[in-house]
């Protein structure tokens, strides 16, 4: 099951050209600076750019090649735009049902009630679109797109026009979407944090060209990519909840490299969740630290060293329990510790961010 992409689009000021194959499960993040072609790519996949050339096939179904071009309304591609773009002449229910009504009953894979439950839309149904907040509008837009039973869901920076509160409100819904829906999602964002929270696979764009593609975890740690040099760069891990510490309000989760103490979570034992460790929260010690306030200490091995974004900093790529980990330390420390590839040491993790997920 895959998404074959070979897209070429020429515009006076901009050229988009890339070729890759993406998994057709889960969320593939599309990341890059503004102007790198992320939105254009999505529009080409959706069939909204008539002049795009190339080949697009979803699970063997050809949407576009030299011989033909399937128009947007026949592709079954869902699209959530940056601004919700709800129809003003219909109420919320009318918007939600728009795509649903154009499907035969047999083709509908998601019912109205399910979508309403998934996105908590029940209290909004009778409202007119002008009465909704930004976050509510986006939820309706997502629900509307899902209810059209798309083969592929495209999301173009759906959170970027929202305030912090609305973002925080929607992110859990999106994560739930990833886990509960079988529809593959292409998620465009320029916010690394969102990508780290939601994506499994990553597509990196630079100036209309493909810079890299691969599993999120791998790409995040690659020092040849600009990702590692972002302010909030780091590593993500799939963790399982092992134990709760009622007394100290902590929970313990297990990753490949060991056990991490995190803020108390309501998730049950055995629950899978994603955790994130920022590079700036990792410091290194050659010997196991003693009598330190830091709870999370993981044995790791140095893979490589490279320049940080800041001339005073060095980026250290580590491997911990078979999974990549990033640490950002001063060049001086790196020199004094005489760090070199292959060296075993201990990573001290000051903060672990829990990314709630509802998958069992």
């Amino acid at each position: 099951m895959s998404l074959e992409l070979h897209v070429a689009l020429r515009r006076p000021q901009f050229v988009l050209e890339l070729e890759c194959e993406l998994p057709s499960r889960g969320i593939t993040g599309v990341f890059g600076r503004s102007g790198s072609g992320k939105t254009t790519l999505l529009r080409c996949i959706a069939g909204l750019e008539r002049r795009a050339r190339g080949r697009i096939a979803v699970d063997g179904e050809i949407w576009q090649d030299e011989a033909g071009f399937v128009p947007t309304h026949r592709r079954g591609v869902g699209y959530v735009f940056q601004e919700a773009s709800l129809f003003p002449h219909l109420d919320v229910r009318g918007n939600l049902e728009f795509g649903l009504r154009r499907l035969r009953a047999a083709e509908r894979r998601l019912g109205l009630d399910e979508a309403i439950a998934l996105l908590d839309l029940a209290p909004l149904l009778r409202h007119r679109t002008s009465q909704l907040s930004g976050g509510e509008r986006q939820r309706v837009a997502i629900g509307r797109a899902l209810l059209a039973s798309p083969r592929l869901l495209l999301m173009d920076e759906p959170l970027s026009s929202l305030d912090q509160r609305s973002k925080a409100e929607i992110l859990p819904h999106l994560a739930r979407l990833r886990d509960q829906s079988s529809v593959p999602i292409l998620y465009v964002s320029h916010a690394l944090g969102e990508i780290m929270r939601l994506a499994d696979h990553l597509l990196l764009l630079e100036a209309g060209r493909l810079q890299a593609t691969g599993p999120l975890q791998t790409l995040l740690a690659r020092s040849d990519l600009p990702l590692a040099r972002y302010e909030d760069s780091g590593a993500v891990f799939d963790a399982v909840v092992e134990e709760h510490d009622v007394r100290y309000h902590l929970s313990y989760v297990r990753i490949g490299a060991g056990r991490l103490a995190v803020a108390r979570t309501a998730a049950p034992i055995g629950h899978r969740m994603r955790v994130r460790i920022d590079a700036r929260d990792v410091s290194l010690a050659l010997k196991p630290p003693e009598l330190t306030s830091i709870l999370n200490i993981l044995p790791a091995r140095v893979l490589s060293l490279s320049e940080g974004a800041d001339p005073a900093q060095t980026l250290v790529r580590l491997e911990a329990g078979g999974e990549p980990l990033l640490a950002r330390i001063t060049c001086r420390s790196a020199a004094e510790l005489q760090l070199a590839p292959g060296m075993p040491l201990y990573a001290q993790v000051k903060g672990v961010a829990l990314m709630e997920s509802s998958a069992p």
């Binding site: 128009p71 309304h73 735009f81 919700a84 003003p88 795509g99 059209a148 798309p150």
Partner: protein, 228 residues
């Protein structure tokens, strides 16, 4: 008001209604095409459509008379098909009114269609709406105000039509004698009493129509405002 004046009023109302309905039907696709493209052909058609605005109605009427006559393009074609000539008939008046009020229908429609951003149409496409379906369920509702304006302007313009009707109508009572012609005849014959009554009726009618429409317009403003 005399019975002949009432009949004339009735002819006027029938003419305005028929013309408006036909204009909406014909001009909606035309206006859509004009709104959506940029080719030079469209500019030409745009100019042609606006021609009735600047031509004096008597000039328009005269050319219509030629067109509808047995040697003219329209009259000749109909004659060839064995159909009666359209001059001096209600059908002929409708043809003339359509041409005369064409820009009043096309321009508000075209402006309304142009005002719909491409986004709603793209969204509708991703929601599996075919081009025709998109037009019916998204473009038309969002253009409701423009459609209303086009309908009202065409109706009112046809109601007040005089020059064209004069030239190609033949003043046949019950068929082509409209209220404006009847009014003209009264003033020509120096019958000022009936003239006042008839013109007052027309005035009140038009005013009531405009009031109703502006009321509707306000209601529509709520639902077809900026895209949420």
């Amino acid at each position: 008001m005399g019975s002949s004046d009432l009949i004339a009023l009735w002819v006027s109302l029938r003419l305005a209604t028929t013309t408006t309905l036909l204009l909406l039907l014909l001009c909606t696709p035309l206006a859509w095409w004009l709104a959506m493209g940029v080719s030079r052909m469209r500019t030409l058609i745009d100019a042609l459509v606006s021609l009735p605005l600047v031509l004096p109605p008597t000039v328009l009427g005269f050319y219509l008379l030629l067109l509808l006559g047995p040697r003219g393009a329209i009259g000749g074609a109909l004659h060839g098909l064995g159909l009666p000539a359209p001059a001096f008939s209600f059908t002929g008046l409708v043809m003339g009114s359509i041409l005369y009020s064409l820009p009043f229908a096309v321009q508000p429609l075209r402006d309304a269609f142009q005002g719909i951003a491409t986004r709603p149409m793209e969204v509708a496409a991703t929601l599996r709406a075919s081009p025709w379906n998109r037009f019916l369920t998204v473009a038309l509702p969002l253009s409701a105000r423009g459609i209303l304006t086009a309908a009202v302007l065409s109706f009112a313009h046809t109601l007040g039509e005089f020059g064209v009707v004069l030239m190609i109508g033949g003043n046949i009572p019950g068929r082509t004698q409209t209220a404006s012609i009847a009014l003209f005849n009264h003033t020509e014959a120096l019958e000022y009493g009936p003239a006042y009554r008839l013109s007052l009726t027309l005035l009140v009618l038009c005013f009531a129509l405009l009031l109703a429409v502006y009321g509707m317009n306000r209601r529509l403003l709520r639902t077809t405002g900026a895209l949420a």
